[in-house]
Point group: C2
Chain length 158, copies 2
Amino acid sequence: MRLTTKGRYAVTAMLDLALHSHQGPTSLADISKRQEISLSYLEQLFAKLRKHELVSSVRGPGGGYKLSRESESIFIAEIIDAVNETIDATNCHGAGNCHKGDVCLTHHLWSDLSEQIHQFLSGISLADLVERNDIKAVADRQDAQERAQHEQVLAVIN
Amino acid sequence: MRLTTKGRYAVTAMLDLALHSHQGPTSLADISKRQEISLSYLEQLFAKLRKHELVSSVRGPGGGYKLSRESESIFIAEIIDAVNETIDATNCHGAGNCHKGDVCLTHHLWSDLSEQIHQFLSGISLADLVERNDIKAVADRQDAQERAQHEQVLAVIN
DNA sequence: TATATATCCGACTATTTTACTCAGATATTA
DNA sequence: TAATATCTGAGTAAAATAGTCGGATATATA
């Protein structure tokens, strides 16, 4: 099982999308700036998210990505599944042939753990995260930073 | 967060130790044969397990490793912690400085997930696993295989 | 219709981690 | 003293991660 930057980036980007969903499609360039994730890397991740029909794209100026469903019915487990192969903790990916063609000594333990993690992460939707106060606070801070940067750019130009 | 072969090997080896604890210290060579884990790799893992005082060693012939505590008070989370750095799912390892010196958008989610996994894995002791019927069945099968192999060796010698 | 903006796509690469191997030192029992 | 084991450190192949780079394609707008 893996939970690395890749899965975290994907969830972060999807949450950023959910937070800004009211203002039309969001470009990866915007997400890249706000969340400090390389644009090219985001493109790779969104190719996978699009294949799994979690987002849809609008090409051209003013375009970007939007959630392909309402945020209430997009669950964290789906996002991680889309970019990482799986959140399965067993070595045999559930096949049960991990030791000489049969289950290994600890197969059932990892199987239980996988179930536990999967239940936890598929019980949380993007909408749930958007509603959380601790996350709202972080989002507000990030938006304020973005506006401040924008004003600085304007000041330099004028 | 990672849960790969390394952590699984460590738990499997510790469980093997618990299952054979009544017959004195168990050599890594025995575990290597039963669980099909490379001896040299086991040596590396047990160096860490020993540093974390989960096992103690007896050198010389007839020696091997034994649990340094009773199996009731050795928990799976400890074993994984000992060989993997951590089972923390956050990028900042709990420090809260994952985004421009502050917490990132999804910090609290990963923090909650880590807590969830940690609670699950520290609620399970080696003794719990030894008592599980599905695991007993696997252990019995492995012991039977070992005896059969042993008899084959004897037959070849004689 | 030109231009800028954005998604799309594939190939390539540096770094890190995993999962080992190997050589040998050290301790202990018989 | 010989065999058995733990110990230790260094090295290494393969895989995954975390990107970069160059360019093609679609589309809104001036």
